[in-house]
């Protein structure tokens, strides 16, 4: 008990002596956590939205001719040859017509004058849940287009492509802001602790002479790092949560956020971010202690 009392008292003295640089470090750490967590939050939400869209992804293969039962068998075999699929549904011209009429609802009378076979027959291919990479989908669609009797293949190519590139870009941004967080947390903390150590050489020297143990001298600086990491991540995440609430309350409604279903981090992710921030800052203080506190 006395040990922790003494160590906390020393840590308090350190904070008092260099509080301006301590405060700057704390702000920097908070800001880096905020920036990183902000992008990471968007990223995880994008991934969630991507999953949901993927669940509805299907490739529609428009056919030149209505396939007979033998042809259907052959097509089915060829598709399954390329890859296992979740489901293959044949839609005849008539079924397509009925479905369209149903979609039109009350306005379906505009179809009265049209021949019942004006829509092409098609195959709906629902890919396996595992087959989710953009390139795989693209390859698959190319293969389907090469089957005999197909006219074209549709799966919202443009949309999938954009979504894919946006996710890629976001991955890079998340990695960059993560690197920024690592650098600022470790280097800023290492720097302020170095400042404290340099400013107190006389005292540290004396402490050794009167018999202070290594842990008595070192632990306060380590606590300082842990405190910086803890406070910085708590404040950074709180700021992000405030921002998140604000966005939710101002932009919800029948807009795109509705489809996206914007969620905050689950507790485990919050916990991991705090833990990472603490570890980074501890590493920062530890390197300074190793370098400048020769015992």
């Amino acid at each position: 008990m006395n040990f922790w009392f003494a160590v906390l008292r020393q840590a308090g003295r350190n904070l008092k002596q260099t509080w301006t640089s301590q405060f700057m470090t704390f702000l920097t750490v908070s800001l880096s956590v905020l920036i990183f967590a902000f992008f990471y939050l968007i990223y995880t939400n994008m991934l969630g939205a991507g999953d949901r869209l993927n669940d509805e992804l299907r490739l529609i293969v428009y056919l030149e001719e209505e396939p007979g039962p033998a042809m259907q068998m052959q097509l089915r075999r060829k598709i399954e040859n390329f890859d296992d699929v979740e489901e293959i549904i044949f839609i005849s011209k008539e079924a397509a017509y009925k479905r369209f009429a149903k979609q039109l609802g009350e306005d379906s009378d505009v179809l009265d004058d049209m021949p019942k076979n004006f829509l092409p027959a098609s195959i709906e291919v629902v890919p396996l849940k595992g087959l989710r990479g953009y390139n795989q989908i693209k390859l698959f669609s190319e293969y389907l287009a090469s089957l005999p009797g197909t006219e074209k293949v549709q799966y919202g190519q443009e949309w999938v492509e954009r979504f894919y590139y946006f996710t890629r870009l976001l991955t890079i941004v998340v990695l960059l802001s993560g690197t920024l967080l690592i650098l600022t947390a470790t280097f800023m903390v290492a720097y302020t602790i170095r400042l404290t150590i340099m400013g107190r050489q006389d005292e540290l020297e004396l402490l050794k002479l009167v018999g202070a143990t290594n842990s008595y001298i070192r632990t306060p600086f380590l606590i300082e790092g842990i405190l910086q990491g803890f406070m910085g991540s708590i404040i950074g995440l709180s700021a992000l949560y405030g921002l998140f609430r604000w966005i939710i309350s101002h932009f919800t409604g029948p807009g795109i956020l509705h489809i996206f279903q914007f969620d905050f981090f689950p507790p485990i992710v919050i916990f991991i971010i705090i833990l990472c921030s603490i570890s980074l800052c501890s590493i920062g203080s530890y390197t300074s202690i190793r370098k400048f506190l020769k015992i």
């Binding site: 006395n2 040990f3 003494a6 005292e203 004396l206 002479l209 009167v210 018999g211 290594n214």
Partner: protein
Amino acid sequence: MSSQESTEEAMASGNTMIEMIKVSRTYHPNITALSEISLSIETGEMFFLIGPSGAGKTTLLKLISNMEVPTKGLIEIAGHNINKLKGNKLAYLRQKIGVAYQDFKLLNDRTVAENIAISMEVSYKNPKTIKKQVRDLLDQLQLTDKHNSLTGELSRGEQQRVALARSVANSPRLILVDEPTGNLDASTTKRVMELLNRSKQAGATIVIATHDASIYKQGKHRVMELRNGVIHSLTRGNT
């Protein structure tokens, strides 16, 4: 903790507190501060170290407190080769050695009370005990009204007494004092010596380096005179 206890035990029970065998210390480039000093000081003894300026008194005290390392020779404190001790073992031993340095080594931007408390804080003394001990010592050294003064603002004589108070505060088994009365008048010198005698009565071994004949002439303590780094004479006071 066990090494802490064993240190304490050795310092209480042993007969010899300080054992030096053929100890030399040279400084770069070729100043011989001490050469081939052999010396043994009993537990509970009060021992005086005299000699002209530059004779090597401070160097000897620094070697005993392991602030400096000998160029040659062996130094044992309570049976431990002090130059082989490392880490926490060395720390625990130093907690049992109180040193009042010739240049004081006070923290000038801290108060008098904080400076004295340091030696007790490192061995995790209870804050109440620390407060009481600080007040007692300041009373004995006539510094009661300086409790909250910044040490840097004190006179040299006052700083000297603060340094002394810090060296005895943690009830050390071995007390090394360098020139404790250099800046003091006769009555304050008497109070300082009373304080040191009280520590001796509590069983501490005390080594005092001094030019002040008034403090070693009476009494029958051993007095060692150094000259140019060698032992010139070793006598009992008063003879």
